[in-house]
């Protein structure tokens, strides 16, 4: 069992969870993730390591409640524990001093991009961050992002905060301003990552995305996380999760991610039902 040290909501449905995992805290690098299992009957779920404290032996996860597993995890409080956590998994982000690097996060993708933004800053890049959310209440890690950015922008779809519009519009604005951009990292919903790839493609700006296929073991055993990159099969849990955005087949990824939708819905409904009964009882 792995003990949760602290757990606080950053926004509605998005929780920051610090868990004891000494080996992982010591080894993790930006861009890597863990697989967790909340309970003995739980599924294995991949989550990015948002931060770590090697001295304390803890890692931080930032989790958006999407379905059964993430919502069950987000019900946990400090002092609770989860069955399993393994990592750090995946190939760390490729970090170098590119020059000017833009880190784009959409929704909880901001949290996934955060450690890489930190590493890009440490490597000497001029770091610009663009963090998009649907509305003001869903903006996460605003201060953390500001602290690692030379320039930080927030966009909201409804205009309730920051720039009114999508992250891609802000990105296009920066490109149009004629400044030199050497590297773009985009992490968020698949349509957002695809849109960013299309914005940077004509300018040949090196663009990297972190892919989120369905994973089972996460250790390179099952082949379930395969994605199509440059018309070849790649395994996101070992070859990725970061890939060249201009070579990724996003349609294939989103179609494959929908395979278990009916079951995921069923699982979540059963869980919600159980929660309601427990509340009443």
């Amino acid at each position: 069992m792995y003990t949760i040290v602290s757990a606080i909501f950053l926004a509605e449905n998005i929780k920051k969870i610090e868990i004891e995992a000494p080996r992982i805290a010591k080894k993790r690098k930006a861009g890597q993730f863990v697989m967790i299992r909340v309970s003995e009957t739980g599924e294995r779920v991949p989550l990015t390591i948002a931060d770590a404290d090697p001295e304390k032996g803890t890692i931080t996860l930032i989790v958006q409640g999407m379905g059964k597993s993430t919502r069950e995890l987000n019900q946990k409080k400090a002092g609770d524990s989860i069955s399993d956590i393994v990592g750090p998994l995946g190939t760390p982000s490729h970090i170098e001093n590119f020059g000017t690097a833009i880190s784009i996060g959409g929704g909880v993708g901001t949290a996934i991009a955060y450690p890489t933004a930190v590493a890009l800053k440490e490597a000497g890049n001029y770091v610009i961050t663009i963090n998009g959310a649907r509305s003001k209440e869903l903006v996460v890690l605003e201060h953390e992002m500001q602290a690692v950015s030379d320039e930080a922008y927030i966009t909201t779809d409804d205009g309730s905060y920051g720039f009114h519009g999508f992250v891609t519009q802000k990105l296009q604005e920066l490109i149009d301003s004629g400044r030199r951009i050497d590297y773009v990292l985009a992490i968020g919903p698949i349509p957002m990552m695809k849109a960013v790839a299309e914005v940077t493609r004509p300018y040949n700006i090196k663009t990297v995305v972190s892919l989120n296929p369905i994973m089972i073991d996460g250790t390179g055993m099952c082949g379930g996380c395969r994605v199509t990159v440059d018309n070849q099969i790649k395994f996101a849990c070992v070859d990725g999760p970061e890939f060249d955005a201009h070579l990724v087949d996003f349609k294939n990824l989103s179609d494959r991610n929908r395979v278990y939708l009916p079951e995921e819905k069923k699982s979540e409904e059963a869980f919600t039902h159980k929660c309601r009964i427990e509340k009443q009882g």
Binding site: V86, D217, C222, D255, V259, P262, S267
Partner: protein, 482 residues
């Protein structure tokens, strides 16, 4: 009949005793073990068929050289516990090997009775005595020698790692097994299904090791969570055994393979076995809805048989095996092929898939295949299948499971560059000691051979244990006693 008085002629007249099994119609609706095991009567009758050869060639047919003639004689005499002890001198996991060894290619292949009649059912007998010992509560925890002060890390808890741990802990070494997954046992747990190898048996073996003092750390991916160099230099391990098994599954490289609904056998079996998806939604992991759908498994090995029989149990309407060659070339155990047929699995042989077809949502709808015929023998001596022109046809499918083998796990190579690997990324070892190119690091099982068998992995684990012990202690005595 009596062991003492029976003549060879009488022995040869006894037919091979059939393994009692669950009725096929019944068993396709459950995941319980198919084979029910010999009764003591059946076991003794079968044991009488062994003519106790002066030169028991069967022993050489067994990769770990179990004293087959001797244990079978004990079975015939009714000394089942003695027989179990005898087997365990050479094989620490008899309940498992008796169930999953490809006997027809090993011990039973060379049994002299097999020349004119059916060979002695060595595997069934091995299984019987191991089960008898366990079910009557007679499994003894072997004695553990006084501590040597040496500490050995075992990477991977499959049959290679477990047998290595078993031998070394008994010699008084401190053993820590590191396992990447949340559950121990390797393929025995996540690959081979319950209906062929009840998980309870694997758990009991693990319990035995724990009682002898082996400690297990799950959720540790060596190479990522900690490296081999760190285990040696920082955590004070004197030796390391690598038993990480095979790696990522191969795909066929034909169009449409990334459609939703096409998956590897590893994924399908992991979902069902390790993650207990058959129990969804009680277990959170889903599995492809097989009920009343058409499912095909591509391949002809044990993994393919396990996948197709699992699909059948999950309610598939049609469950096909699609294989490029003919049945004679199938690498699966004969018993699995036989059981699969009894369960209604449809074998489409000499059939080569050329493309998967999908709809707008990139959901699999079928596979395009070519019929093949057998041509001239190839390098492996098997007749090469060649396509029949104009024979292309479309088979409607909802799920396709690819089961054509695995590559090697690249993690060790990536994180410990001073361990020599082959072109296929398998770890290179000295086959007499299983020593790798790195000092005090040994390896065995599928990571060395590529996908092979449980018994070979076990044998490799034991060879390494012996070499590690000798290297650490500078002596060979104390190993051969058991």
């Amino acid at each position: 009949m009596n062991e003492k008085t029976i003549s060879n002629k009488e022995r040869l007249a006894i037919p091979r005793q059939k393994m009692p099994a669950q009725d096929p119609n019944e068993r396709v609706t459950n995941f319980r073990e198919v084979n029910l095991g010999y009764t003591p009567e059946l076991a003794r009758m079968e044991a009488l068929r062994c003519i106790q050869c002066k030169d028991p060639v069967c022993i050489a047919g067994c990769p770990v050289n179990i004293k087959i003639d001797q244990f079978i004689k004990m079975v015939a005499d009714g000394d089942f516990l003695g027989a179990a002890k005898k087997i365990k001198e050479d094989n620490v996991l008899p309940a498992i090997c008796g169930r999953v060894c490809p006997q027809e290619d090993q011990c039973e292949k060379v049994c002299v009775i097999g020349k004119k009649h059916e060979p002695v059912a060595i595997g069934h007998l091995e299984r019987f005595v191991a089960d008898y010992e366990r079910q009557t509560g007679h499994v003894e925890i072997p004695e553990v020698k006084p501590p040597t002060g040496k500490k050995i890390a075992i990477i991977g808890s499959g049959p290679a790692g477990l047998s290595c741990a078993n031998d070394l802990v008994r010699l008084g070494h401190e053993i820590v097994v590191f396992e990447a997954l949340h559950e121990l046992g390797g393929v025995l747990m996540y690959g081979i299904p319950e209906f062929r190898l009840p998980k309870e048996i694997v758990r009991q073996e693990l319990d035995g090791l724990k009682q002898m003092g082996v400690s297990f750390q799950t959720n540790v991916v060596v190479g990522r969570s900690v490296t081999i160099d760190e285990l040696i230099e920082e955590e004070g391990f004197n030796a390391v055994f690598i038993g990480v098994g095979a790696g990522l599954p191969w795909f066929m490289g034909i169009p449409g393979e990334n459609l939703a609904g096409v998956l590897s056998a590893n994924e399908f079996l992991t979902r069902v076995n390790l993650m207990k998806a058959y129990d969804f939604p009680e277990s959170d992991t889903p599995v492809f809805q097989c009920k009343n759908r058409n499912i095909a498994v591509f391949g002809g090995g044990n993994t393919a048989m396990d996948a197709v029989r699992t699909a059948k149990r999950l309610g598939a309407e049609h469950a096909y095996i699609i294989y490029r060659r003919s049945e004679a070339e199938m690498p699966a155990r004969h018993e699995e092929i036989h059981h699969a047929k009894e369960e209604g699995v449809e074998f489409l042989l000499l059939m080569n898939p050329i493309a998967f077809i999908g709809n707008d949502q990139q959901q699999l709808t079928g596979v395009r295949c070519l019929r093949m015929e057998l041509g001239e023998p190839d390098d492996s001596g098997r007749r090469r299948p060649v396509p029949i022109e104009g024979s292309e046809f479309l088979l409607p499918l909802d799920m396709a499971v690819i089961s054509i083998g695995n590559g090697s796990n690249p993690l060790i190579k990536q994180t410990t560059p001073d361990i020599e690997v082959s072109k296929r990324d398998t770890v290179v070892v000295d086959i007499n000691t299983m020593a790798t190119s790195k000092n005090m690091v040994y390896a065995g099982g599928d990571i060395v051979t590529g996908g092979a068998t449980v018994i070979l992995a076990m044998g490799a684990g034991r060879t390494a244990a012996k070499a590690i012990h000798e290297k650490l202690m500078g002596e060979s005595h104390g190993f051969d006693e058991w």
